[in-house]
């Protein structure tokens, strides 16, 4: 098990290999279908983004509501391929990592290699357990999207497996 502090350094990413199990600690940003569409549309129009994803990791998640006193509700990964049409643009703009589940398409794998990035997978359907490794959740933008809003999470010892490493090796 490799312990990693977020934001990730490029040289740390370069050492990771597909199949490595990691524990992530630090900030990650949530984003899924609707937020990806908005972010990449804003980029295409040349607008400044409401969130700076350079050097950051995005977690494909739409959490369930938090019970009183809890930082977040159940929060497992959603299936990554739906974000594939938007992902290369975000990686080329400086995002360095993604956490999700399932396979990625070839353009995403190529963008990962081109940018020295990494794709982590975590366990779909282990949402209640995963929520225990999330310490806080702050809204960042697109709050009108409800569960699909972009939030900043602070995670601690968040379990993930390297799905695609920076050389393009793929576990799935």
């Amino acid at each position: 098990m490799i312990k990693l502090q977020l934001p990730l350094k490029k040289e740390e990413i370069a050492r990771l290999r597909a199949g490595d199990e990691v524990l992530l600690t630090g900030p990650v940003y949530t984003g899924r279908d609707a937020a990806h569409k908005r972010l990449t549309e804003a980029m295409a129009r040349g607008e400044e983004l409401p969130v700076d994803l350079r050097g950051q990791v995005i977690y494909y998640v739409g959490p369930a509501p938090a019970k009183p006193g809890q930082p977040i509700g159940p929060a497992g990964p959603t299936t990554s391929y739906r974000m594939d049409p938007y992902t290369p643009a975000l990686l080329d703009a400086g995002m360095v990592g993604m956490i999700g589940k399932g396979r990625r398409t070839e353009p995403v794998r190529e963008a990962i290699v081109r940018n020295g990035a990494v794709y982590f997978i975590t366990i779909g359907g282990a949402a209640a357990l995963i929520a225990d490794s999330i310490r806080s959740k702050e809204p960042v933008c697109y709050e009108d999207l409800g569960t699909e809003a972009v939030c900043r999470l602070e995670v601690e010892d968040f379990y993930a497996i390297v799905g695609i490493d920076s050389l393009g090796n793929s576990l799935l």
Binding site: E21, A34, V61, G62, P63, A64, P65, A66, K67, G73, P74, A75, G76, T78, T79, Y81, K101, G102, R103, I121, I123, G124, G125, A126, A127, A128, L129, I130, A131, D132, L145, G146, T147, E148, Y159, I161, L171, L172
Partner: protein, 281 residues
């Protein structure tokens, strides 16, 4: 004629919505534990162990086992001797759904229109409701929250009668193979054979409301379930798609008479969060 107040239906629906999303039940837990203990690869065993721990934790805390608490699907069997009072039965089910998703801290995942606006309705309605009229004066409701990681991997195909048993076997196995790690394996596979285009799909959905690992009462279809189970697990997609012995936890086949020219087959996949609840009023 028995009178049944729709408020009673609404309250029961609200309760069953929360129950199904938080409590997977001992049958599923036992099934997952047995599969975990059979896995030889450490990573696959660990994934199944995480899933078991997750599901127990969810029940203990009464939180959703998966953040995707689904689109609400109901099978409603209405005794024809019931007279509903106090309003609309249909509205009571939608209202109970909204109430359950709110009170249970469940995610609202429904958009009001699918193509242009895609604005979240913020109460997880409307639900998808299938009504049947049955003899008697009881109302039987089964609820299954359907997550879309697995729903998105589901397929319908109109086979030719000449495709026969092999055609059906190959189509179902291919559907699971193509889905790969995406539908959150280990999965339960619902198969609908016969009827019309949409009837086959509905049968495959109802197949996913059966207890995990149960068999069709027709021995030929039960044997088909066993053969599919064996071939699907031989794909070795495994827990979370990381390889292993457990790709499917169950394969359930339902059938219906069909046209002389047709052999419709639908494959509806469900993730390991195989959730439902039912109530008789």
């Amino acid at each position: 004629m028995r009178e049944l107040h729709v408020n009673e239906v609404r309250a029961a629906v609200a309760r069953m919505v929360i129950d199904a999303n938080c409590c997977i039940g001992e049958g599923m837990l036992t099934c997952l534990e047995q599969c975990r203990d059979r896995e030889e690869k450490t990573l696959s065993r660990n994934v199944l162990d995480m899933i078991v721990r997750n599901d127990r934790l969810a029940e203990e805390r009464m939180v959703a086992m998966c953040q995707d608490t689904g689109m609400a699907v109901f099978r409603v069997q209405v005794g024809q001797e019931i007279h509903f009072v106090g309003g609309s039965l249909d509205q009571a089910i939608h209202d109970g759904t909204a109430q359950g998703y709110e009170e249970g801290y469940l995610r609202k995942s429904v958009v009001g229109e699918p193509l242009f606006d895609r604005v979240n309705t913020r109460n997880n309605t409307p639900a998808v409701i299938y009504y049947e009229f049955v003899p008697g004066d009881q109302l039987h409701i089964t609820f299954a929250p359907k997550g879309f990681g697995s729903e998105n991997m589901s397929v319908v195909k109109m086979l030719k009668p000449a495709d026969g048993v092999d055609g059906v076997l190959n189509f179902v196995v291919e559907a699971v193979k193509n889905a790969g790690p995406n539908p959150c394996p280990p999965i339960v596979v619902g198969v609908g054979i016969g009827g019309t285009f949409e009837k086959a799909a509905q049968l495959s959905k109802f197949a996913l409301m059966r207890d995990v690992g149960s068999h069709n009462e027709d021995p030929r279809y039960a044997a088909l379930e066993d053969e599919l189970m064996e071939r699907i697990n031989a794909l070795a997609i495994g827990p979370a798609g990381l390889g292993g012995k457990t790709t499917a936890l169950g394969v359930h086949v339902e059938w219906f008479p069909t046209h002389i020219a047709g052999l419709p087959v639908a494959v509806n996949l469900c993730c390991h969060a195989y959730r439902h609840s039912s109530v008789t009023l």
